[in-house]
């Protein structure tokens, strides 16, 4: 039953997102522009590479690739925020009550929502990748495809489970949208999205280590651009795996709390 609900929830959200064919066009066209925008933003610096340090090893990475991976994963992170926003829409359109009225597993519902968001916005990623291939020569160095695949998979899973937490948050609090928006810029800053993490003041690094995006960026940049092998990126990958489990557990707990609170305070239909 769990996976039936996940599939039904995902199908519903995908269908609602791709309501018109224009949506498909814009989801590819917009990030194409975003990718190019970032490229031209960095062009004046005229640097060709950036150095990134992990476990006292230094990697020289293509600067354009470095920034575009940042954009890529940030887009993915935003997708997960949008998964939360989709849940808020349920409250506004009065369907949240109809969903919670059913005996469906709540975790399956939010997992289906997060997966749908990941599928709906995967076209953004294609758009960015297309901009790399079509307009920008990114120097890719892959020495360990398994390490690259594991980095992509764990980045994806950790952000999907983070998306589930956002969804629960949107049931829990009517200010979920505001919190999620407030978090956007700090996360861009702390995750090392636009600059190498070693440039971050030491006192702030502890905040960076709380964000899954930090480890996703490190592992993906090193395996795709720096030729790192599995053992090189074992630490960020293990942390990503732990964070995936943590966010999954947190969203399970949070959705239960959120529903109980909403029933006590009668906030299911308030927005």
């Amino acid at each position: 039953m769990f996976w039936r609900i996940v599939a039904a929830e995902a199908r519903k959200n995908i269908k609602q997102f791709f309501f018109t064919t224009r949506t498909v066009f814009w989801t590819v066209a917009l990030p194409l522009g975003n990718g190019l925008y970032l490229y031209f933003l960095y062009l004046p610096f005229a640097a060709k590479s950036v150095s990134l340090e992990l476990n006292a090893s230094w990697y020289t990475l293509d600067l354009v690739g470095f920034t575009l991976i940042g954009q890529l994963l940030y887009t993915f992170y935003t997708m997960m925020l949008l998964a939360g926003a989709a849940f808020e829409r349920e409250r506004e359109q009065g369907t949240l009550e109809a969903v919670l009225l059913a005996p469906a597993n709540r975790l399956a519902v939010i997992l289906g929502g997060a997966l749908a968001s990941a599928i709906n916005y995967i076209w953004f990623l294609f758009g960015i990748l297309l901009s790399w291939v079509a307009f920008v020569a990114v120097k890719i160095v892959v020495n360990d495809p398994l390490a690259l695949f594991t980095s992509i998979a764990l980045s994806y899973l950790s952000l999907v489970t983070l998306g589930m937490c956002f969804e629960s948050l949107f049931v829990y609090s009517r200010r979920g949208g505001m919190y999620a928006t407030m978090l956007q810029e700090p996360i861009m800053f702390f995750s090392g999205l636009v600059f190498p993490l070693q440039a971050m003041p030491l006192a702030l690094l502890s905040v960076s280590y709380l964000i899954p995006l930090t480890f996703a960026l490190t592992s993906l940049r090193l395996t795709l651009l720096g030729g790192a092998v599995l053992s090189d990126v074992a630490t960020p990958l293990m942390i990503l795996a732990l964070m995936t489990l943590l966010f999954f557990a947190l969203s399970t707990w949070l959705i239960g709390q959120a529903e109980r609170k909403a029933k006590r305070k009668a906030t299911l239909t308030q927005f």
């Binding site: 039953m1 039936r4 609900i5 599939a7 039904a8 929830e9 199908r11 519903k12 269908k15 609602q16 309501f19 359109q93 009065g94 369907t95 009550e97 109809a98 969903v99 919670l100 009225l101 059913a102 005996p103 469906a104 519902v109 109980r260 029933k263 006590r264 305070k265 009668a266 299911l268």
Partner: protein, 337 residues
């Protein structure tokens, strides 16, 4: 009788809504407690169609939401088919469903069929049954020819019929209908009422709790009614029984000409008369102004003495209409509105 003998049972059901406000951004918080339900007790029998009546804000929707597990009571207990709506909420959700008035609870960008298939998955309807159940519900509600159109292209009446399909998708044993005909055309509302009575209750034997503030709806449909006023259940019973016991008695609508102040004052003092209201009446007969009197009397046997008195006072009676109390009279009596 125990909770197992009833489809629905509420005991001392109370629900408070707490709202906090600040006078200004750093001002002191003030808390207001609004009691939406106040120690409400009632039972609904298996296969019964029970109506909760009351004005806006009386607590009807709060009661429904508690019974279908969307809201927790502040105190008291409620059972559906013997299951506690708080402690056994998961089991209650399997056997109930709710249809609300208005145009919520549907996905507008999905087709009618897709909506039903989605909810069928949430209710774990067996895969092999989904297609036939969805088709039969769409056919039953006359939506089969528009099943593959997006809901946003539906009229209000069609959306409401689709909501009923959604409410029946899990074949619930108890169905809650919260103002299901709100905003519908007269004919569509009538069809829906007939469907509820004939198909859902008489044919399928489901228990239905209906909330409405349309008295004729309750009169036409329900086995028993309960009146909610300011969160309290002030009367409950069969409508005929409530009318018989009602202290409002009978009403005579008398159209008269040549009514004098003296005659009116005398009428008010007449023994069987409890109350007299005069209202304006548009019209004349043989150039004489017509007055409309609403005379409350204990029984219809009092009519001859009223008419006799008016004749003695040389008033000319144009027409007389005697009627017993209606649910609307009871509504006004019990809710004060």
């Amino acid at each position: 009788m125990s909770k197992h003998n009833f489809a629905v049972m509420a005991r001392q059901l109370t629900r408070d809504y707490i709202s906090t406000k600040r006078s200004h951004i750093v001002g002191r918080k003030t808390t207001t407690v609004i009691r939406a339900l106040d120690n409400v007790d009632f039972e609904i029998l298996e296969g019964e169609l029970f109506a909760l009546l009351g004005p806006n804000g009386a607590g009807k929707t709060t009661t429904v939401k508690i019974l279908c597990t969307l809201l927790e009571p502040t105190s008291g207990q409620a059972f559906v088919k013997g299951f506690d709506v708080v402690k056994d909420s998961a089991r209650v959700r399997r056997i109930v469903n709710m249809v609300a008035g208005g145009e919520r609870m549907l996905y507008y960008r999905l087709t009618g069929r897709e909506n039903l298939e989605y909810f069928a998955a949430l209710y774990d309807v067996p895969k092999g049954e989904i297609k036939s159940r969805v088709n039969s519900l769409l056919e039953l509600m006359g939506l089969d020819d528009r099943a593959d159109d997006e809901v946003e292209k539906y009229s209000k009446g069609m959306k409401q019929r689709l909501q009923v399909c959604r409410g029946l998708i899990n074949n619930p044993e108890v169905l809650f209908l919260d103002e299901p005909t709100l905003g519908l055309d007269v004919n569509i509302a009538k069809d829906l009422r007939r469907f509820i009575r004939e198909k859902i209750v008489e044919e399928q034997g489901k228990t239905v709790l209906l909330t409405t503030h349309y008295m004729y709806e309750a009169e036409e449909l329900c086995d028993r009614v309960g009146f909610l006023s300011k969160g309290k259940l002030v009367a409950v019973g069969r409508s005929e029984e409530l009318k018989r016991k009602a202290p409002t008695g009978f009403s005579m609508e008398v159209l008269v000409t040549r009514l004098t102040d003296e005659a009116l004052e005398g009428l008010k003092k007449l023994e069987p008369v409890k109350k007299v209201l005069t209202t304006a009446y548009e019209g004349e007969i043989e150039d004489e102004k017509i007055d409309r009197l609403i005379v409350s009397v204990d029984s219809d046997l009092a009519a001859p003495s009223v008419l006799n008195y008016l004749s003695i006072m040389r008033c000319r009676v144009v027409s007389v209409n005697i009627r017993g109390p209606t649910l609307e009279d009871l509504f006004m009596l019990y809710t004060g509105e």
